[in-house]
């Protein structure tokens, strides 16, 4: 499937929440393709699924499935149909595609200029007999895999993490806006579907403190220590959903090149509860890990917006 998708197709992914709403050339093209299939988005409903189509917009195959064998069958059938098309529909350069024009800003997201992108991974864990963490298991298909998201920081936000003239042993607090973004939008259980985010009042604790471990002309290295408590009730014992975690992280900066070379953060603790789109949570409090790591930002997939960026103003704290 990997070889087939990589070599015989131009593979692309999309979040239907944006695609079905955007009023621009890309949105119109997508809906033109989707309307040839069974999911026409009646009433603003989802059009999610696997689509195979031509650059001119002719639908070859559609299936709403995530099973690898089913996907392979759909893609192979589409490729067979593609090969039957006349040359003027499939030869290189036969179809002319111009610029898309102005995107619909309401439903178009781009990483902040000169900002930082962190890859975010979330995984359910469990404790072994010694109390050490290991990968967890659950009844939901795929719920034991590491889930993905991205964290975006603006240029001003990451630069604020590196005060001038710091020296080893200095301490300072994580800027509140960044601490809020991490806790509200990224310390979530997205391992079984689209997660609910925490409201500002559900952030019961978000203490994050940087310590300067090294500050030389060659490098600045910071360590992050933190604690977070997210809960749907002020009394965590009564909360239907919550996450109580410790954080540890490291940031390294090259002063000469003015670039962040490392930004790793790990949150570990117990999560409990579920939501409408994340049914199937394990009973009670269970370990959940969230790992953040600096993205190279050199692949199109790196530019995929954070799940919480649908409400972009709120995500950026504006």
């Amino acid at each position: 499937m990997v070889k087939l998708a990589s070599e015989d197709f131009i593979p692309v992914t999309g979040d239907d929440w944006y695609q079905r709403r955007r009023e621009d050339a890309e949105g119109e093209f997508f809906r033109k393709v989707a309307d040839q299939g069974p999911r026409k988005g009646a009433g603003g409903g989802t059009r999610q699924g696997i689509y195979c189509f031509t650059a001119a917009g002719k639908l070859l195959a559609y299936k709403n499935a995530q099973d690898a064998d089913v996907m392979r069958e759909v893609v192979e059938r589409a490729l067979a149909d593609w090969k039957k098309l006349p040359a003027d529909e499939r030869d290189p350069g036969a179809v002319k595609v111009g610029d898309a024009g102005k995107p619909d800003k309401r439903y178009h997201r781009a990483p902040p200029a000169d900002g930082l992108i962190l890859n975010v991974y979330t995984r359910i864990l469990e404790r072994d007999g010694k109390g050490d963490y290991r990968k967890g298991s659950c009844d939901t298909a795929g719920g034991d895999l590491s889930a993905r998201d991205h964290l975006w920081l603006t240029k001003g936000e990451w630069q604020a993490l590196l005060p001038k003239d710091v020296k080893a042993g200095d301490h300072f607090a994580m800027p509140a806006a960044v601490a809020q973004r991490i806790t509200r939008y990224h310390l979530v259980d997205d391992t079984r579907g689209e997660p609910p985010f925490w409201s500002a009042e559900q952030v019961r604790k978000a203490e994050m403190r940087w310590t300067v471990e090294e500050a030389t002309a060659a490098t600045v290295r910071l360590r992050l220590d933190g604690e977070a408590l997210l809960a749907t009730d002020a009394d965590p014992k009564k909360a239907e959903r919550g996450y109580e975690a410790r954080l540890l992280g490291y940031l390294e900066y090259d002063p000469a090149k003015k670039v962040v070379t490392r930004f790793d953060v790990l949150a570990l603790g117990d999560h409990w509860g579920e939501s409408e789109l994340t049914r199937g949570a394990r009973a009670g409090r269970q370990p959940l890990g969230v790992a953040f790591a600096l993205s190279k930002g050199d692949k199109p997939a790196d530019t995929v917006p954070p799940q919480a960026a649908r409400d972009f103003g709120a995500y950026l704290g504006k």
């Binding site: 131009i10 692309v12 999309g14 979040d15 595609v97 979330t122 993905r148 009670g284 409090r285």
Partner: protein, 84 residues
């Protein structure tokens, strides 16, 4: 006596049903890399990420036209490369 036992039994059941408060212990510095690796996807579960996915449908369309290939679009509510 029976009532006491019943009360204890019911109490125990209630305790089992409720989330148990267990403050998270600090993450040991010397375990950081190992724990971080545990949370991240491993190669076997990351196979699909080897596909050179585009993130822009219009850019994919331009490439498909130029290279003479069909487009494979994976469209989900919640971005396939960014949510779950």
């Amino acid at each position: 006596m029976f009532r006491t036992r019943l009360t204890l039994a019911v109490g125990a059941l209630v305790c089992l049903a409720l989330p148990v408060a267990r403050p998270a212990p600090p993450i040991a510095v010397n375990q950081f890399l190992e724990l971080q690796a545990l949370v991240k996807p491993n190669k076997s579960e990351d196979k699909w990420a080897e596909i050179p996915w585009q993130a822009s449908l219009w850019e994919a369309r331009k490439q498909a036209a130029a290279q003479g290939k069909p487009i494979l679009l994976w469209e989900m509510d919640g971005h396939p490369l960014g949510c779950t």
